[in-house]
């Protein structure tokens, strides 16, 4: 057909219908991994809706973010979206979900937001088994404010507030999620987009508190200070990552020497907060 080679003037992106195009360009730096993870998330949402399973309806998807680079995702997604205060995406999402159980609530935020200032909210939402999905972009530092140490920064890593190296140990996010009671726990890197998309699809379909950690480069603030060029970080993700589904959650510390374990670590069924609440409190 003659039209095959005709240039496509529209240049449409397959995720255009899920983006607030009037808010583009985004603020994310060149080399940042958030956009890739965000695209995986939108692809998974689209797939969920397309399959029609679980009665998924695009109008019922809600994205909630906190503050930080990843927190800006809520501002770009064309869904009902809430950009809340620092660390509070999860309690806000809890209120949304408990008030309207038809909503599919996704928390999309960063490691500083979810695990330092918001750490307490994370463990309690997991403990309660609130039926939401939390996606954490882990770039190992506070990117928005210029690269300060986070609760996820590796030991000895340099940041603007640990100029001689980080004296603290980081959280292992999957272990924390597992110990707190999450029903679904996975870890990927932004390089593993296909696995990540499948995983987000599974998490969205999962009944209960589902959690995915996604490692992401921050070349401008973290990589630069730790002598990691943007592509080198991606090479590390490729060469040092080991996919080990069902790995013991206690062995998931991020160690660039030994390797980073990726995969799905927890996928269990148990009643959600709302199911248990109804059983005890609603009189039929």
């Amino acid at each position: 057909m003659a039209s095959v080679n005709r240039p496509n003037k529209q240049q449409n992106h397959p995720l255009d219908d899920l983006i607030r195009k009037d808010r583009i360009p985004h603020i994310w730096c060149p080399g940042c991994g958030i956009g890739t993870i965000f695209a995986s998330c939108l692809t998974a949402i689209k797939e969920c809706v397309a399959t029609g399973k679980n009665g998924f309806d695009l109008d019922k998807f809600v994205m909630v973010s906190g503050i930080g680079c990843s927190g800006r995702a809520a501002g770009y997604v064309k869904l009902d979206s809430f950009h809340t205060t620092h660390g509070r995406a999860i309690p806000f999402a809890t209120g949304l979900k408990l008030a309207n159980r038809d909503l599919n609530v996704i928390v999309f935020s960063g490691d500083g937001d979810l695990f330092a200032i918001g750490g307490n909210h994370f463990i309690h939402a997991a403990r309660r088994n609130i039926n939401i999905t939390v996606i954490c972009v882990n770039n190992l530092n506070y990117g928005m404010t210029g690269g300060q140490v986070a609760a996820t920064t590796p030991y000895n890593a340099k940041t603007t507030t640990t100029p001689a190296g980080n004296a603290e140990n980081p959280f292992s996010l999957p272990l924390l999620a597992y110990a707190s009671g999450a029903t679904y726990v996975a870890r990927w890197t932004m390089l593993h987009t296909r696995d990540l998309t499948v995983s987000i699809n599974e998490a969205l379909s999962k009944k209960g508190f589902s959690f995915i950690e996604v490692l992401s480069p921050c070349p401008v603030n973290y990589g630069r200070r730790n002598k990691e060029k943007p592509l080198e970080t991606l090479k590390l993700y490729q060469e040092k990552s080991i996919i080990k589904n069902g790995a013991d959650p206690s062995e998931l510390d991020i160690d660039m020497e030994k390797g980073i374990i990726l995969g799905k670590f927890v996928d269990i069924d148990k009643p959600t907060h709302s199911e248990k609440y109804d059983k005890l409190y609603r009189i039929e």
């Binding site: 607030r20 009037d22 808010r23 109008d59 019922k60 809600v62 909630v64 809520a74 501002g75 064309k78 869904l79 009902d80 979206s81 809430f82 950009h83 809340t84 205060t85 509070r88 999860i90 309690p91 806000f92 999402a93 809890t94 209120g95 949304l96 979900k97 408990l98 008030a99 309207n100 038809d102 909503l103 307490n120 909210h121 309690h124 609440y277 409190y281 609603r282 009189i283």
Partner: protein
């Protein structure tokens, strides 16, 4: 209470109940369907009562991990379309300041109750005070207007809780009810009318074309229509400075426009918001001004003064913020003195003094907190200044 087990939303009838319980019942009568709480003396009884009652009328109660989460969950539930509330006391109120700011900036209706105890810090957990009045006005960072009510009896707590919900739904903002340990824990007769006789207001939700809808475009009253998450409007809600569409705009002009919207809807509707009660002001030479539990001190002091031939009157503030500037200015023009009575070291007194400046002297009968002010002190002050 046997009423606790009832499944009816409105407990029509005559009761003997505490202010805290009356608050929970007022919330249910107003249509509250979500409560995010955290235990704290002397507000815990509100959460306890509502944890039992809410699920039986189709609502949801959750005790969150702290007061920040409690109020944040309330904001989330409000955006899901439910009338939502929380209740706390000073230390929890301090933690809620962050979410109050988010609620104001995102124009989220909800009700926050502060059953005040003496501070600062942990203070006197089981003893009353009225020392968070300025915190209620200015506690969250940035400029804003807010609505704050101060009921003075369990019966009034019941009604003002309904009013608080109605105001929050009308003007789309968090409304704060400031009670105190004394009114919160005292038991008095509370009459609850039939459900049909209680006026409730629900936020206006948009209809029509979803692609043209603007989330913060004010109606003639200065208030925007509010859809719920899941309605299909694809709204974006942010605590960043935003335009009428709800999109973040980091400019001086956008900040000025947003602030004009946030403050205008209150400042331009002051007559619809402010409630006061006037007693014996017609012939008054001296006027006591008070609110909450200290109103009771003033009623007694006024009776004592009148029996001694002092023409005392009483202005009871039910709405504290926005402050009734005009009413107090007018009053100050025709009386010899104003005496503010409150269990703090002069928070509302400062406002009264500002309004009375150059017209009448303003005095304070205050107290550092922990107990009520004896009416004798008010009488003595009246005798001294006249």
């Amino acid at each position: 209470m046997t009423e606790n087990t009832t499944e009816s939303r409105v407990l029509t009838g005559e009761h003997f109940m505490t202010g805290d319980i009356a608050c929970a019942e007022g919330a249910l009568a107003a249509g509250c369907r979500f409560f995010g709480g955290y235990p704290i003396t002397p507000a815990t009884e509100i959460a306890e009562q509502i944890s039992l009652r809410l699920p039986r009328v189709g609502g949801t109660f959750i005790q969150m991990e702290d007061e920040i989460a409690a109020l944040t969950s309330v904001l989330g539930a409000s955006w899901a379309g439910l009338k939502s509330m929380t209740a706390t006391s000073g230390p929890g109120f301090s933690l809620m300041m962050e979410a109050i700011g988010l609620g104001l900036c995102t124009e989220t209706p909800c009700v926050i109750v502060n059953v005040q105890r003496a501070g600062p810090s942990t203070g006197l957990p089981t003893q009353g005070a009225q020392a968070d009045m300025m915190q209620a006005r200015w506690g969250s960072h940035g400029d804003y207007e807010i609505i704050v009510l101060a009921p003075s009896s369990p019966q009034e707590i019941f009604y003002q809780t309904i009013t608080a919900f109605n105001l929050s739904e009308t003007f789309r903002l968090p409304v704060i009810i400031m009670t105190d340990e004394i009114v919160g824990h005292m038991s008095e007769k509370v009459i609850i009318p039939e459900a049909g006789k209680i006026e409730t207001v629900n936020r206006l939700r948009p209809k029509g074309r979803k692609d043209r809808f603007k989330l913060f475009e004010p109606d003639p009253n200065g208030v925007a229509l509010m859809p719920a998450a899941g309605d299909g409007y694809k709204i974006h809600v942010t605590g960043l400075t935003h335009d009428e569409k709800g999109y973040p705009v980091m400019t001086v002009e956008a900040q000025a426009e947003m602030m004009a919207r946030l403050t205008g809807k209150i400042r331009n509707n002051i007559d619809r918001i402010i409630q006061t009660e006037e007693l014996f002001l017609d012939d008054a030479e001296i006027v006591f001004i008070s609110y909450g539990v200290s109103s009771r001190t003033c009623l007694e002091a006024m009776a004592m003064a009148r029996s001694k031939g002092i023409r005392a009157g009483f202005l009871r503030l039910i709405t504290i913020w926005p402050f009734p500037d005009d009413q107090i200015r007018a009053l100050a023009k025709r009386v010899k003195a104003l005496i503010t009575v409150e269990i703090n070291l002069g928070q509302i007194h400062r406002e009264v003094k500002r309004c009375a400046e150059g017209k009448a002297p303003a005095y304070l009968v205050g107290h550092p907190g922990g107990t009520v002010i004896p009416p004798e002190r008010v009488l003595a002050m009246a005798e001294e200044v006249l």
